[in-house]
Every structure is written in structure tokens, then in C-alpha cells.
Subunit: 139 residues, 6 copies
């Protein structure tokens, strides 16, 4: 019998970004993205929750070793984005409009295979940008 | 290819209410609803999370403009309930037993069409009444 | 040698109230107190922190038995205000403008002597009305 | 017409435990479980969220009486685990590797039938061990 | 008789910054400030608590009208720093090493006189940069 | 001119303990310490806030390098208590009744000199045992 359990690990990172299309004027960017288009950047303390699912391994009771999962998240995501500029410094986000929606999709793509290699399935990438909003991507 | 993302906005309101059936005696109401039936009302800081889903728009990276979503929630819900009495002052709740369950359903009905008009689908209305309980309604 | 330690216990209560002077018109009350003057009341989840200070008793390591302190707070404060209307139901607040400032002072007066009887000194009564504001009264 | 609503109650407990297989050496346990294998135990403030679902009862607006649900959770779970050692004191966990995954499954088994007897369906048992991780079990 | 009460209002802002001395090399800045020296900036969701003290006004029960205090904080601080770069965009911080310590002092200087004009005394400016650190400045 | 700023760093640890005097019977311990006297231990996620004060250094804007402060706290406190039994495993607490009051004093004694060596003054050690209580020790 296999009992599926979801397990979630929280990580945090602080980064700068802006929302602005380079080919648009500053005015048009402000009209579309408001204060998020500030040319000199702004930033956030992002909170990231990574949920994986699987069957607890009988000898350990673990779906996945949480510290191994933490290492994967740090290696594939956090070290690349923490104290960085998401529009300038990060290979997997710098070609994107760095909306929280697109960050969640990009982080999913970083994690899907490495989580599989840990023996679990990636279920959800959730990111909050402020205490008043968050996004979830389920692949 | 369309990638579905869920995005959630948090809003808050402070309101008075009570749980009591007018046709019942004070004793019967107390028996059923306990201290929530206090005739002179009590109140809460309600927290409301509204989750919508859709595909990020390629030019903005947004499922929905969060500030437009915030405006809809304020216009359709918050301005009607904040610093109000849910049993006396609010058109869409005053005919109800104002349990958190019924509030979630009533707020869903206020938001379903306006969210559609923003180009997204309402996915969940979540309300907490205290830090120890919350309800979720998925339509 | 006596080492002074401060110890704080958190309790919570949900209550209705309004800010309005009965001798003023509804308009003047609205002008002064804004939406807090709604005639049909509103309410909050108040959070109360009671800080006492003293020297840990050598045999227990306690400044004060926290569950005895909790009992005092429940007996003198929480049972009187929880799920009540602060302007109508509560002996020690109903004669007051129920601002958070005045609540803190009134609760201090309820607790000062009973805390002394537990062998400690009341140091601070802190109350938050919403996540964005709180008051502290030090006697 | 039946509208399904999910309602969640939060409870908390503080317990000691360790992760270690008695038939393994201390070294092998450390290799597998890290600092969680400390022979003299460690502990946590566990937070438990129990989500049930059902249709609000028309006369009360309740899926389930939250205080009855709270009593069930206290009776079947909290009183057995709070201020206890999960590996030594608790009938329904002491035969387990007390990973958070296994705790969630064991608590589900304690609650499934009693929740049914309250007239609702158990939907999810969620437990957090620290602010950085939680598990969810959906049966 | 005058009873002194402290009242605190929380506001939030999201901003970009870096810690780096322009006259130092990138290496020396990294050595001193670590990842906070990233040339392309990073950012935070700053939380600001402003505490003022005074005697509640008898007719209102208020030390200060909280919404007037909120307006002062928004006018003198938040509108200048929210979604801005603290090193490039903000008159009262751009000449500073933008450590949290210096931000607290700079914000105190923005608020001291306007709070006095509201009839209260500024008591403390507290800022958190992440959930793991905060500073307090008492003038 | 020297402006004193307080800066606080939060750290966390998970530990087992009990409150019981070895020379007392189990019954007398239960009478005095309630469920905290469980012979098989219980545990908590302790949260520790260490506040130091000083004048920001002009070239960095720092009262103290926060990561150096973090290293001191980890070296002198966290590594000794995290995932440990406070009554059995920890040199600086195992001779104590491990009340939160006594933990705060013991941790102060671990930190006072090392903080001085960083060029600041220890101002407060604050510990919470659960979300409903915390202690503060100011030396």
C-alpha cells in the first residue's frame, strides 16, 4: 500500500528587480506596471515554498531527506537569486518579465528534474513577494 | 502552450457580528452558538485571501493585474464589510447566519463575475476569523 | 544577588466596540473617529501581552507560575471582554472611550494588584487592535 | 443544492522525539538522520491543522461545530502528544519512525472516524515541525 | 494626572539598495559587506514601526490620531522610499551607507518634528530588513 | 556625537527538556510543574533574540557586523543547544532548572563577553518557548 504525503520546505531570498519592457518608454512602463517600473530598481524578501510528494520510505519515514531537498533548492535556486538582481544577474530569469508568476515557472523548471533525482515528484512552487500576495505553480 | 498559475491577494477587514437565530430564545442560541451568540455582538479582524487562476499574459507576465484585482476586492467586498456589522449593515450578508462558511460563499458570489471580467477565473475564497480557524470555498 | 527577569504571557480576545461620543451627532463622530464610529459597531481580534518582572524563585526557576498568571489574566480580563461588546457589556470599559490606549490603562488597573499577589510586579500591558498598531502602558 | 466548504482548525502541541533506528549504531543513525538522531532527544512546538469538508447546515451555517471539532482533536490527539515523548509515551506513534510524514498519517488515522461521526469528511492533516517545513496528508 | 501611553504604527516598504563604498574596489567591498555589496543591487521588504508617546486626550482617548500619524509617516517616509533605490532615489538616504542602523536614524530625523506637531513625542523608530534582524533607534 | 542604536538578531533552536527536581517525587513535580514535568521529556522550538547596542561605525554604518554576531551566537549558544536535551547535554544549562527565565540568564552569560569583543554591549536576551510566552533578561 502506498500512502502519498506532500512535504514542503521554505527558503527565503532577497533580491532586486523591476517590471519594465526595455522597448517601451518610461511613461508606458509606469502606466502598465506602476511603481514596480522604477528605473533604479526596487526589491523584496521573497519567500519560496517547494512542495514535493511521494511515499514515505519505510526505514526512514521520509518522502525525501529534507536537508537533501534544502541543498537542491539552495544549489539550483537560492545561491543564484539571493542578494542578486533578477533582471541582470540570474541566468534563468534575466530574459523574463520578472513577475512573481514567471519566477514561479522559472523556479519550477530549475527544480523539476533534481527533485525527481531525489526520488520524489515536484508538486508546487509557491512564492510570496510581500505579505499580501503569493503565486502557486503546479507544473 | 498555456501554463496555469494561481495568484492570491490578501485583504483584511474588521467587523462585528453574532451567531443567533432571531426566532430562537437567548438560551437556545447560547446552547447552539455559545459565546458567539452574545446579544450585544462581538467582532473579529477577518483576513481574506482571494485566489484566481489563469495563464500569464506574455507581455506583462501577469495572470491578472494585482492592483486591479485589489480594487475589485475593495469595491465589491471590503468597503461593504470593513468596520461594519455583518448582520445589520451589509446587503450581501445580513440575511445570513454569518458563520465563516457562509461569509466565504457570499464573498465568492460577489467576486466570481468581476474576476472573470479581469480575464481570470476565481479559484478560492479563504477567510480566517481567528488565528486558529479558516474556511475555504472553491465554488 | 537578585537577577530581574521580565516574563510575558500572550492572551487573545475578540470583541465589538465603537468610538463615538453619545452627546455628539453621527456626523461629528464620523468626522472625529472615521469608520470607527459606525453606529452598529465593528470588532477586532485583540491580542494582549502582559509583562511582569521579578527574580526567579530558586527552587522552580520561575518569576511567576505562568499558568497562575494566565488564570489571573483570564479571571480579571479575558472572561469579561471575550466575545463581548466593550461599550455595553464590560464593567471596567463601558464608561470609557474604548480607544486602545484606554483599554490598556483599564486592563492595567484590573491586573496590578492580582499580579502583586502572585509575587511579581506588573511591568507592561500591550494590546494590538490590528496587525498595524499596538499600544503599551507601563503604569 | 450542496455547496462544499473546507474548514480548518489549528491546534498546537510541544513534544520530544528523536529519529533513530534502535537496531542501528549511533554512528549509522547520525549518518542517516543527522542531529535529529541525538540519543537524549530533542523537541518541537508542532502545529497541527485539521481540515474537514462538508455542506454548511442551513440552520447554523456550520459544516461542523468548530468547538466540537476542537474537542475531538484534543481528545484523540492533543492530550496524548502534548508535553510527551512521541517515541516513548504515545500509543499511536511509539512504534513508528516519528518523521513528520508518519505523524501526519498516524494523526489522520486517529481522526478519520471521529470526524465522520461529526457529520463531515476529513480532508487534510497538516503538521509543521518548524517554521521551515510542513507535511500534508490527504488520506 | 497624566498617564503616558506608547502607541506604535506599522508601515511597510519595498526597496533596493546595496552596501558598498564607491571609493573601494569591488573586492574590498565584498570582503567587508559580503553579498550585500552586489554591484547590481538587491532589495528587501522593510517593515517600519514608529512609536510615539503621550497622554491620551480625554475627549477621544487618543495619544494621537493614528490615521494622522499614518499620513505623516507616508508623507515623510514611505512615499520617498517605497519601490525606490535607497542609494540612488531617496534624498534623505542616498548620501549614507544604507545599513539598517543608518536608515533608522535617517527616518527618525524625518519624523521627529512632524510627530511633535501632532502633539506627541517620537519614542522609537524600529526597522526590520528580514525576519531575522531589526534595529531600534530612540533618538 | 554618538548615536546609540540597538540591533537584534534572531536565531532558533529545537531542544528537549523537562521541569522536575530530581530530589522530589514524580507526584510533587507534577503538582509544581504540571505537564512540564513529564519524566520522558518534551520539547520546543525556542526562538532567541539577541539585542546589542552601540554607535554605528562611520565607514560601514554597522553597530556590529551582523554575520559576526550570528557566528558568535551560533558558536557560543546554538551549536550547544540545537537538537539537544537541555537537562542532559548542555554544559551551561544542565545544572539548572531549565525554566525559560534561567535559560535567558544562562545564555546572557555565554554571550556578554564575546559581544563586548565585537565592540558592542549586550542589551537583552529574549527567548520564547511557545507563541504565548517569552522572557527578557537585561543583565
Amino acid at each position: 500500500m502506498s500512502k502519498i504525503v506532500h512535504i514542503t520546505r521554505r527558503e527565503r531570498f532577497s533580491a532586486a528587480h523591476k517590471l519594465a519592457k526595455p522597448e517601451w518608454s518610461e511613461e508606458k512602463n509606469y502606466e502598465t506596471f506602476g511603481k514596480c517600473s522604477n528605473p533604479n530598481w526596487h526589491g523584496h524578501n521573497y519567500v519560496l515554498w517547494v512542495t514535493v510528494k511521494g511515499t514515505p520510505e519505510p526505514s526512514t519515514g521520509f518522502v525525501v531527506d529534507l536537508s537533501a531537498l534544502g541543498d537542491v533548492i539552495k544549489d539550483k535556486v537560492i545561491q543564484h537569486v539571493d542578494h542578486k538582481n533578477l533582471n541582470l544577474d540570474v541566468e534563468f530569469t534575466k530574459h523574463l518579465m520578472t513577475s512573481t508568476e514567471n519566477l514561479a515557472i522559472a523556479i519550477w523548471e530549475q527544480l523539476e528534474i533534481p527533485v525527481k533525482e531525489l526520488g520524489a515528484d515536484l508538486h508546487c512552487v509557491k512564492i510570496s513577494e510581500t505579505e499580501n500576495n503569493y503565486v502557486e505553480y503546479f507544473g
